[in-house]
């Protein structure tokens, strides 16, 4: 099962068309392994992207260099997925007990 340890989901805000274009270019760089949860489309909409651990440093540097604002939406995706699995197991165990 693929794990997502260290993967972060970033919420990026493009302030203008130039920044948006830069983010669209990022979209095409397959080697970074980015997974866009919300694609770059319009400056009025946020861009959410899952960044694998191995690309985090590059992406942060890229965003900072181009003065593109971002927030960390999910600090470590695997933590959230582990909690999701625990919750499913808890629910199943309650169900079987009842």
């Amino acid at each position: 099962k693929e794990t997502f340890e260290g993967h972060q989901v970033l919420r990026i805000t493009a302030l203008n068309e130039a920044q948006l274009d830069l983010l669209k270019e990022l979209h095409d760089k397959e080697q970074l392994g980015l997974d866009f949860w919300m694609e770059p489309s319009d400056v009025s909409l946020p861009i959410d992207v899952r960044v694998p651990f191995h690309s985090l440093q590059d992406i942060r540097a890229f965003l900072m260099y181009h003065e593109i604002y971002y927030d960390i939406m999910i600090q470590d995706l695997q933590d959230v997925l582990d909690e999701e699995q625990r919750e499913m197991l808890r629910a199943k165990s309650l169900q079987s007990r009842s």
């Binding site: 997502f4 397959e30 919300m38 999910i74």
Partner: protein, 305 residues
């Protein structure tokens, strides 16, 4: 199905057992139709809620993008809501006395199974792409509506890969064949997550669809109803103006087939959890979405065309 845990996420096997149980508990009202097979050979199950023969149909699908787990979970809740409310809720009873409801809970079963066994973040189908190591097609870019245009990728490794040709994916083709052979579907709602939006055609062109004014007003009413429960705020409008250009989308195709009331939902949230929405939000999400679905279904019933 009274004891089923609607507030938890479930595996494909559990959902299929639930479907069979719901059918068994409601003979003569609920039936299961297998409209085809997925690439990996899984049945494409739809639930039919019907109280009489030869009725026009209302379609709802969830889970065409497999990682959007809150949608399949909401689909389960909708199915139980329909059997619970029929005969009790006057409006739903009235709808079901004139229309059949078709509900496909797991529209992309191979992808959904894969999210449980191998990769929780899987979105596409699971059909291999010849000449590429990347698997799968985006089933919401695979429809014959502006197929291959901007807003879909021609690269198999992309999450929005459109596929080699329109309706190449058996999960898509099965719905196409069903809709065409039925011939009398009056509303078609395809449910996704996330970003809290209610969208109508088109996604592939900026040209407004001919029913834009009516669809826009109905969307406004639907999201007003939706927000009345938990104050969840939705945006609404055509796909291309509200979210982004997307070609080969489901509801663009259904609209072009003459199904006027064609909508796409993007359920909760707006970006705290995204695709990994905590299970304690399943029921509130389904409840509020149901209010919007009822608004659309009532409107379709009251405005025959």
């Amino acid at each position: 199905t009274d004891d089923f845990n609607y507030a938890s996420y479930h595996t494909l096997n559990e959902i299929n057992s639930f479907i069979d149980q719901l059918v068994q508990e409601n003979p003569g009202f609920v039936s299961k139709i297998v409209i085809g097979q997925s690439y990996e050979g899984r049945p494409l199950n739809i639930l039919k809620f019907s109280t009489g023969a030869n009725r026009p149909g209302l379609w709802i699908d969830t889970g065409i993008h497999s990682r959007e787990w809150v949608t399949q979970a909401s689909g389960i809740w909708f199915s139980k809501k329909i059997v619970t409310d029929y005969g009790r809720d006057a409006e739903l009873t009235d709808i079901l006395n004139k229309y059949d409801i078709f509900l496909e809970i797991v529209t992309n079963p191979d992808g959904f199974q894969f999210t449980h066994t191998s990769n929780r973040m899987w979105r596409k189908t699971r059909k291999p792409n010849p000449g590429s190591s990347c698997v799968g097609v985006d089933p919401n870019r695979n429809w014959d509506a502006g197929f291959g245009g901007p807003g879909a990728s021609s690269t198999p490794c992309s999450e929005t890969y459109r596929g080699p040709r329109a309706h190449s994916e058996p999960e898509v083709k099965a719905i196409v064949d069903f809709v065409k052979s039925h011939g009398n579907i009056k509303a078609f709602v395809s449910i996704h997550s996330y970003s809290q939006m209610l969208l109508y055609p088109y996604g592939y062109t900026k040209t407004p669809c001919k029913d834009q004014a009516e669809l826009h007003e109905l969307a406004r009413k639907a999201i007003t109803e939706l927000s009345s429960l938990y104050n969840t705020q939705y945006r609404y409008g055509s796909i291309i103006t509200t979210i982004y250009q997307a070609s080969g989308g489901t509801v663009d195709w259904t609209y072009d087939q003459g199904i006027k009331y064609s909508y796409t939902f993007e359920l909760r949230d707006t970006g705290r959890y995204g695709f990994v929405l905590p299970a304690n939000q399943i029921i509130p999400t389904a409840q509020e979405t149901w209010l919007a679905l009822m608004t659309i279904m009532k409107h379709a019933k009251n405005n025959p065309y």
